[in-house]
């Protein structure tokens, strides 16, 4: 059964990394968080009930590590070194600069969200869970999940749709200071 947990975890790695990337918005921090999450999950493997969802359990562990560690607060403001982010595959012909600005404004907008809204964006918009699955993962009512998620997405969309001078200014502020 223990080997079963390990192989299930390996299968989950791609999804865990995306979830962690959405929370940390840093490629390196994301992999560090995944590593810490796997270590803690294995150390507490007896708390996981086979037959229940391993992904939900590990997402809860990851989010606790990230928001409890203080690392989430520490990276705010110094975060989003967009230079080392791979270019978005641009079939729409947008330039690299515009893509980087878009990324930077999305990262900044996500940073400013409350923690629970960041997690919901990561679960539903990035990982693709249904509202119901997200509600079960976070042990919240589905109505709460939907209202928080809709507010979070309105904030991100504002940043996405207006990446002009305001977006640029906020990025400079975030990086330069």
């Amino acid at each position: 059964m223990t080997e079963d947990v390990r192989s299930k975890m390996i299968e989950l790695l791609p999804r865990l990394r995306k979830f962690a990337y959405a929370l940390t918005r840093s490629l390196e921090q994301a992999d560090d968080l995944v590593q810490d999450t796997c270590e803690r999950a294995l150390a507490r493997a007896d708390q996981w009930q086979p037959g229940t969802r391993l992904d939900s359990w590990m997402y809860r562990i990851a989010q606790n590590i990230w928001f409890d560690s203080g690392r989430s607060a520490k990276v705010r403001g110094e975060q989003a070194s967009v230079d080392d982010i791979a270019e978005l595959e641009g079939s729409d012909g947008r330039t690299v600069t515009e893509n980087r600005l878009t990324l930077a404004s999305v990262f900044t907008a996500m940073e400013q969200l409350p923690n629970d809204q960041q997690v919901l964006v990561a679960l539903v918009c990035v990982d693709g869970l249904s509202y119901k699955e997200a509600a079960e993962t976070l042990q919240l009512p589905i109505g709460t999940v939907m209202s928080r998620l809709s507010r979070a997405r309105q904030s991100i969309a504002t940043a996405l749709m207006e990446p002009g001078p305001a977006g640029l200014a906020s990025v400079r502020e975030a990086h330069g200071g």
């Binding site: 223990t2 982010i85 878009t102």
Partner: protein
């Protein structure tokens, strides 16, 4: 009609409503511009966020994560001793009951391929003595090493894993050979520019014996190669290499495994605990 809530518009953008509701909202949005502009943030985030936080952005899985999962201490420890395998593959090769023409041809092909691979591997070793080779020669036979060995042993198909040294490997297809041994086709990168693709079969000792492989060059421009590494490796293994295809065709028995069967075997250390369903 009641005011349409943001939550309903979001669910519409996410295609999460019942078909009848989807049609109803579509009709309302079509004739109400203010509703359409309230819908836009949800449509935009629905399409943009998965692109921003995508597998392509993350690149291959670092091998340190694989190592952590495989070796980090587990809370409840009750690891049973590994039991010996049951397939005596050597005997099957040396004393086959009947040899059809195709079988004979397949065996000869395998032997030739292994001999050739050994020669190439030893040459590669001479050329690049510093980096750990993904294929080493042991007892005259090529065996998977490093990140390639770990990926073959633990990763599900199409999971791309990279080591800190910039080597990477992806299992492409899992199948059984005529002896019943597990074999996996792989695509790997020995370095930023040197690619490997081939197949290896797991022996009773848990070693992945490479049956055949071909080497290739990713790109002469190291910057380009680095940028393309993640994308290049995955499809590369699926691009058909006629020699590799022929080598696998010669040894495969039955069809390639589906993901479910493969997962069950990985979870069980590649030992079947229940008879596999006959095809």
């Amino acid at each position: 009609m009641d005011k349409i809530s943001d939550e309903i518009l979001m669910a519409y953008a996410d295609d999460a409503l019942q078909p009848a509701e989807m049609r109803q909202i579509a009709a309302l949005v079509a004739r109400d511009p203010s509703l359409a502009s309230r819908l836009e943030p949800f449509v935009v985030t629905h399409s943009a966020l998965p692109q921003i936080f995508s597998d392509a952005q993350l690149g291959p899985i670092p091998s340190r994560l694989l190592d952590t999962v495989m070796s980090a201490p587990i809370g409840v420890s009750k690891r049973p001793a590994k039991s010996a395998g049951i397939v005596d593959s050597l005997k099957a090769i040396l004393f086959p009951d009947t040899l059809s023409f195709a079988r004979t041809f397949a065996l000869c092909g395998t032997v030739l391929a292994v001999a050739g691979a050994g020669w190439i591997a030893s040459r590669a070793g001479l050329q690049n003595p510093t980096a750990q080779q993904l294929i080493a020669i042991e007892d005259g036979k090529p065996v998977a090493r490093g990140v390639l060995a770990r990926v073959l042993e633990t990763a599900p198909m199409l999971q791309n894993v990279a080591s800190a040294e910039g080597q990477s490997a992806t299992p492409v297809v899992t199948f059984r050979n005529a002896n019943g041994s597990i074999c996996r086709q792989f695509a790997a990168a020995q370095s930023k520019t040197d690619t490997l693709s081939g197949y290896a079969c797991r022996d009773d000792a848990g070693q992945w014996q490479v049956g055949f492989y071909v080497t290739g060059q990713n790109s002469a421009d190291p910057n380009l190669a680095q940028e393309n590494a993640a994308e290049a490796i995955m499809p590369a293994g699926r691009e058909s290499n006629p020699d590799l295809d022929a080598a696998i065709e010669n040894v495969i028995s039955g069809d390639a495994m589906d993901g479910e069967k493969e997962r069950a075997l990985i979870a069980n250390g590649w030992k079947p605990n229940a008879p596999e369903k006959a095809e």
